[in-house]
């Protein structure tokens, strides 16, 4: 009886009509997932990261997390600070020249973090970094970006490059979430490869959007202030 009923249904009736919400995410092997979980735990313990959401809530909606850049650990620690469900739909944007060097790094970037690698040295007009990011992000993935472009030398937050503005302009509906990273530059400073297990603090702020008609420099200054404001 029930069998007959099922046979009468076509596959289209059984399947959820809404499209797969994560079309651009490649399924990761259980091993890579385990490595990811282990690294996230290690990063949190090592960097002693306390996570604060200030006037903001963790959410799986599509977002761009933009942060000050102080250390090679930044992307990993932000990624590890997100709840697991959000981590699974969040892809760090990282420099190709650093992350594709060596077998281990390349494997980590591609298979574990599912990072979007951007070539900083060879930027093409028809293939701009922003286009690559948006194409890779699709309609579901969140991104972690560092608008300063490279790690700060002094520990001060530098001027933001214009990528964030073009991201916001092309996809105005995406939430832009400011993130402030405190003390990670002392855990692993520029030019060092052994971390000192100090305590760091990752603060997520309230999302912002590009206002209609807002000028590029105004927007970038506002975004930078939003990051600095989280420093308290």
């Amino acid at each position: 009886m029930t069998r007959a009923t099922i046979r009468m249904l076509s596959p289209a009736d059984i399947r959820d009509p809404t499209p797969d919400p994560r079309p651009t995410l490649r399924p990761r092997s259980p091993f890579c997932q385990a490595v990811g979980l282990g690294l996230a735990a290690l990063a949190r313990v090592l960097a002693g990261a306390s996570v604060r959401w200030i006037a903001s809530q963790p959410d799986t909606c599509q977002r761009v997390y933009f942060a000050n850049h102080t250390s090679h650990l930044d992307a990993l620690v932000i990624w590890a600070s997100l709840p697991r469900a959000i981590r699974d739909v969040t892809r760090p944007v990282a420099a190709k020249d650093y992350w594709s060097r060596g077998v281990v790094r390349r494997w980590l970037a591609q298979e574990v973090f599912d990072a979007i690698l951007i070539d900083r040295t060879d930027i093409k007009v028809h293939q701009s970094p922003v286009d690559i990011m948006l194409r890779e992000a699709g309609t579901a993935c969140s991104l972690i970006v560092f608008p300063e472009g490279s790690r700060s030398v002094t520990g001060e937050v530098g001027e933001f490059k214009s990528g964030l503005y073009y991201l916001a302009k092309k996809r105005p509906e995406i939430e832009l979430v400011p993130v402030h990273i405190d003390n990670l530059n002392r855990v692993l400073p520029r030019g060092e490869f052994l971390p000192v297990p100090l305590l760091s603090c990752i603060s997520f702020g309230p999302p912002l959007w590009l206002e209609r008609g807002e000028a590029k420099l105004d927007f970038l200054a506002r975004a930078r202030r939003a990051v600095l404001a989280l420093k308290e």
């Binding site: 060092e192 052994l194 000192v196 100090l198």
Partner: protein, 318 residues
């Protein structure tokens, strides 16, 4: 560990904590008694801290000496993280700090665990100091050299060296000991006195405090609090002298007095450092509970003195 004195001590502590919790909960449910609500909240959160402390300690004691040494090692490690995090260091200190965290701190606790008093009593104050001085010099950054190395040194001594004297009590060969329980009772005696002294300092300062010791450093530590805390802690130590194996009555009383005074000094010292850095608490391990270092500041100063008092008055060789 199942001797009568240990059972009596555990039962006493459990009774006290349960009674205090009952009172705290009663006061919380009946806020119309004209008592300070903030004080009740502080009291209840302190009690929660003590329950956690007692549970963790009981578990460590039950697992044995090594587990207890490891537990104190982890506490030291975390306290040192908080200390160095709040102390500005320069990039030239990075390599020195790496070895301090990864090698010196664990190695010191290994020596404590192996009961090598002859080495661990000089390992950090001498060898770690020499290493830090030389490593920072090798890094080539001479700016404020003495100030920077002194900070690392102070962190190591306060957070690691001093704290480690508490688990080192477990290694002493106490005269007339009735099994391994005696050493655990001695350590618990110290922890109890330190906690009690902290509490009494607060109570006496609130009740009778007029003369602040150093208003610029701490706005609630008074001479009356210090004296009251020393006296009450000495009385508690006298009342509990039977629980601390090597002591006679007067020795336990003296230990209580000195532990309270040292605990007070530790609190003052940490306040001075915190004031200089412009923060109230050291960490955010549990939100609203301060950091590990805020919890153990009194212990840092009291532990080595208590250890050496034990050696002196009982004539034991380490």
């Amino acid at each position: 560990m199942t001797d009568n004195r240990t059972i009596a001590l555990v039962a006493g502590v459990l009774t006290l904590l349960t009674a205090a919790t009952a009172v705290g909960q009663f006061l919380r449910r009946h806020p119309d008694r004209g008592l300070d609500l903030a004080a009740i909240r502080t009291f209840n959160s302190r009690l929660r801290g003590w329950w956690i402390l007692c549970t963790v300690l009981a578990a460590a004691f039950w697992l044995g000496t090594t587990a207890t040494v490891v537990l104190f090692g982890l506490v030291s490690f975390w306290a040192l993280r908080e200390f160095i995090t709040l102390t500005p260091t320069r990039k030239g200190d990075h390599r020195a700090l790496f070895w301090v965290f990864i090698a010196f701190t664990p190695a010191h606790y290994v020596l404590v665990g192996l009961n090598r008093y002859d080495i661990f009593s000089v390992f950090l104050p001498v060898y770690a100091t020499l290493f830090v001085l030389a490593r920072v010099a090798f890094a080539g950054d001479y700016k404020r050299f003495l100030e920077r190395t002194a900070k690392i040194q102070a962190g190591l001594v306060v957070c690691v060296y001093c704290v480690s004297f508490a688990p080192a009590l477990l290694q002493l060969k106490l005269p007339g000991a009735e099994g391994p329980g005696s050493n655990f009772r001695l350590l618990f005696f110290l922890i109890l006195l330190v906690q009690f002294a902290d509490c009494m300092q607060y109570v006496w300062s609130r009740m009778l405090g007029h003369r602040l010791v150093a208003p610029t450093v701490s706005s609630n530590r008074t001479w009356e609090g210090l004296l009251g805390s020393c006296t009450s802690t000495a009385l508690l130590a006298a009342a509990l002298w039977w629980a601390a194996p090597p002591f006679q009555l007067w020795q336990a009383t003296l230990a209580g007095f000195v532990v309270a005074a040292m605990g007070f000094a530790g609190g003052m010292t940490m306040s001075a450092i915190k004031r200089d850095r412009g923060v109230k608490d050291y960490g955010t391990l549990v939100v609203g509970h301060g950091g590990v270092l805020d919890r153990i500041d009194s212990m840092c100063f009291a532990a080595p003195v208590f250890y050496h008092i034990t050696l002196l008055v009982t004539g034991i060789k380490p």
